[in-house]
């Protein structure tokens, strides 16, 4: 993989769950250092697209290449893919029996065979990055939702991934807690991390997106810079935006 190759590339991806067609020919290219933001109605296939990138779902047709891994290859090295890709979900999914530091050092120590001391150093660094340096020894249940989500982001970052995927990571949070998580993501984007972000936070989406992707009915309906939100070209995006506006002012 050279520097110019895209980090994430989806070409005409199809995916069905039984009779339900969820991805109907999705194509998407994310370059190194780029932030792609996926928006769209509930059920439009955003999460599924994201999960396909980390091979949590196997696609029916098309092609996906992530950090040089061709996901449809018969001899795809799944664990190598997962080391290159970090993913954070709406429901933090921290390991409740481990402290924050243990959550963060688990994978580097057992997967990358990093020494415990080095892993702890990395843990401190990523915790500082998300503003949780004083929570290393706390258990997840002792943290607020926003803190848990930031710890989950730190856990992913500790694996030094080449691309980070975020699936509505603030949807379970109060507005204040949402803000602190979004700030961490903006810092991360500014630091040059390649990111694919699914979100319902429209102003955040516009701010952070190098590429905005509007999905509708399992297809990419509209795509472009963040400002396409100000001037939707398709009736679907226009309708979606006015709906989001109402939801936000309600």
């Amino acid at each position: 993989m050279t520097d110019k190759d895209p980090v994430v590339e989806l070409r005409d991806v199809h995916k069905s769950f039984g009779a339900l067609k969820v991805l109907d020919g999705v194509s998407l290219t994310v370059a190194r250092g780029e932030v792609a933001v996926i928006i769209g109605r509930s059920g439009s296939g955003k999460s599924t697209a994201l999960r396909c990138i980390d091979r949590l779902e196997v696609i029916d047709d098309g092609e996906i290449v992530v950090c040089g891994h061709r996901l449809t290859d018969a001899k795809l090295n799944l664990r190598a893919l997962r080391q290159d890709v970090g993913i954070v979900f709406q429901s933090y999914n921290l390991f409740p029996h481990l402290t924050v530091a243990q959550n963060i050092t688990l994978a580097p120590v057992s997967v990358k065979r990093v020494s415990r001391a080095e892993a702890l150093e990395t843990a401190q660094a990523v915790l500082r990055q998300v503003g949780l340096q004083d929570k290393a020894d706390a258990y997840p249940e002792q943290l607020s939702g926003g803190q848990q989500q930031r710890a989950a982001i730190a856990r992913s970052l500790a694996m030094k991934p080449k691309v980070m995927l975020f699936d509505e990571v603030t949807s379970a949070l109060d507005p204040e807690l949402t803000a602190e998580v979004l700030r961490v993501m903006e810092d991360l984007a500014a630091s040059g991390m390649t990111m694919v972000v699914v979100t319902h936070e429209m102003s955040f989406a516009r701010r952070i997106a190098d590429q905005l992707v509007f999905m509708h009915g399992g297809r990419v309906r509209e795509t472009g810079p963040g400002d396409i939100l100000l001037d939707p070209q398709t009736p679907e995006l226009r309708q979606f935006m006015s709906h989001e506006l109402h939801a936000a002012t309600r």
Binding site: L56, Q83, N93, P96, L106, V111, E141, M159
Partner: protein, 229 residues
Amino acid sequence: MEIGQLNANHAAFLLQGAMWTVVLSAIACLGGGVLGMGVALCRVASSRFLRGASGAYVQLVQGTPPLVAMFLLYFGLPGIGFDVPALIAAGLALVVNVSAFLGEIWRGCIEAVPRPQWEAAECLALSRIQRLVKVILPQAVRIAVPPTVGFSVQVIKNTSLASVVGFVELARSGQIINNSLFQPFVVYAVIALVYFALCYPLSRWSRVLERRAGSWRRRPAGLATLAAP
């Protein structure tokens, strides 16, 4: 001190029987626990064959009374040339029985750990074994402690089955004493009390553990909590 015509000799005999009940329970729980761990892991294995074979084992064992298994081992095996002492026959039958039930209890506990925990571990590139050992099992063990302690009470009571193959544990020692005293009410009331004394602390502990199951900060409740009000 005498209760009815029970004297110190009878008491010593009962105590010895109680000791054998404890020994048999320990064999059944430890042996059945080790084997049951294997059963539980096979039940959640990725291999279809292991899942099927362990499932069949559980069905077979749960569908046969442990009493019949004891008969089979104690009276059946000598018929084909293997002499088995009563303790071994009873112990083995109970180990097998306990392994099937504990295996199923523990499979349930492993599956009770939320799916997203597996997925989160998978996304961190942990291997299947690492996911199981470092993420899922520690949480499953926590869930498993109360029902396991509760089940061990069942095991203690089931050891009384060993009396039918002539093994002199608590129930059988009661029978023997009664055969000389002919005071079944008094004798069996005492036997029941001794069983209760063995089982009650465990069921009490199991209930304490259940109440404690909420938080990860505290270590699981130890025996010391029994003393607390």
